[in-house]
Amino acid sequence: MTAVRGARSARAQTSASTGSLAGAYRAGLGIAGLIIFVVAWEVIGRTEAFGRAWPPLTTVLDQWSESRSSLLSALAVTTYEAGVGWVVGTLLAFLSGVVAVFIRSMRSGLLHVAVVVNSIPVIALGPVLISIFPREVAPMALAAISVYFTTLVATTTGFAATRAVHEDLFTVLGAGTRERFRRLQLPTALPLIVDGLKLAVPAAVLGAILGEWFGSPRGLGPILVATMQDAVYPLLWATALTGVVLSLLGFGLLALLHQGAKERYG
């Protein structure tokens, strides 16, 4: 899945670099899309087309600057939880991927287990995690679990993405599993893994917020729960927007890193 995405975006990249005009066109389309989105939000909110639960964007932004200090401190907590979960999930997934390279028999079994874990609804995992970990740790654990699957898929796909002709070369040169891994599979996989890490950022943020949902005292999650129950819609949306911005920032940062990795190892 990630491999296909990578190939597709690589092709898009080449076509964009053929002319700055095409790039400007694409950027223009993006900006136009954003404007349409913002205007539609505002209009729907003002006219209450979907009821009071959908406030106009300006109201949400007003609310945001009013509650800035509490939202920012909640954001800091969620960022920390999502960050720790992202790092732990990534490391575990990477290690699993490496183990799968060296222990052949584990290769398919590992992915099967990951798929099963990934298809358990988070709602079901939450209570289990809370009974295992303290409430403050549950968000990180849930973030880590959310990250694990995407990164594991990216890692195993990456290690298997070597070109046949390079495999032949390493066979001819008499490379062992370790040399092959270090000098061929790891460099081949790097851009794909970074691509996976990019996709894992929103998963980590979502995991952290859902983890908070199950009774964590701090972070964006509790604010979401409280505002939803009290029907304080502007603050609910302001909080949601904060979470989205966090996701997008992390995603953008890793998109840059991915670009660099593709440039260096592609």
Binding site: V165, L173, L184
Partner: protein, 181 residues
């Protein structure tokens, strides 16, 4: 061994691609050897360039240098110039001869170009399709070093014509035609 597709690692520069053979063989990289190979294939100044910044011919030269790195007894070249344009291909034919002068190594070159085969080889083996067997062996008597003028003389053409006929008659053997009908 050099492949049809150059098989260079895109994240390594020319120098490191050549040195890769030493590293995988767990030997110390022989810097002098790598340097002399770079000179041999005429890539001085491009040691730090990565494959995507090299032309097709240059990539193939790096691939040949890499194949020569560990001083093999036999050099296997699987259609090394197949993906190059005709002009570059002819130039590299000549360059490969120059390389043989300095590093005389027995070379097995697989090619679809009869001209290339006659121009390069001491002995040409024609392989038959299905089953792949040697159907014809021809000694090529021309002295070395050979230059481009060789391709103009009648003897050269007589030989290539012979080999073309040998290839053409087996290209569509009667039994294959029978299978198709």
């Amino acid at each position: 061994m050099a492949f049809q597709d150059h098989a260079l690692l895109p994240w390594l520069n020319a120098w490191d691609n050549i040195a890769l053979s030493f590293r995988i063989a767990a030997q110390k990289v022989d810097e002098d050897r790598v340097r002399s190979l770079v000179e041999l294939v005429g890539l001085e100044g491009f040691e730090q360039a990565r494959p995507k910044h090299l032309s097709g011919g240059m990539k193939q030269r790096v691939a040949i240098a890499k194949a020569l790195a560990l001083a093999p007894d036999i050099l296997l070249l699987d259609e090394p110039f197949g993906s190059l344009d005709a002009v570059t291909r002819r130039r590299l034919n000549l360059e490969l001869q120059a390389i043989w002068v300095e590093q005389s190594v027995t070379t097995v070159l697989i090619t679809h170009s009869v001209d290339e085969a006659v121009f390069m080889a001491d002995r040409v083996y024609v392989l038959s399709p299905r089953p792949g067997r040697v159907s014809l062996v021809r000694e090529i008597p021309f002295p070395r070093p050979r230059d481009r003028k060789l391709t103009l003389i009648p003897e050269f053409h007589a030989l290539t014509d012979d080999l073309h006929v040998a290839l053409d008659t087996q290209a569509t053997p009667p039994d294959v035609l029978g299978e198709l009908e």
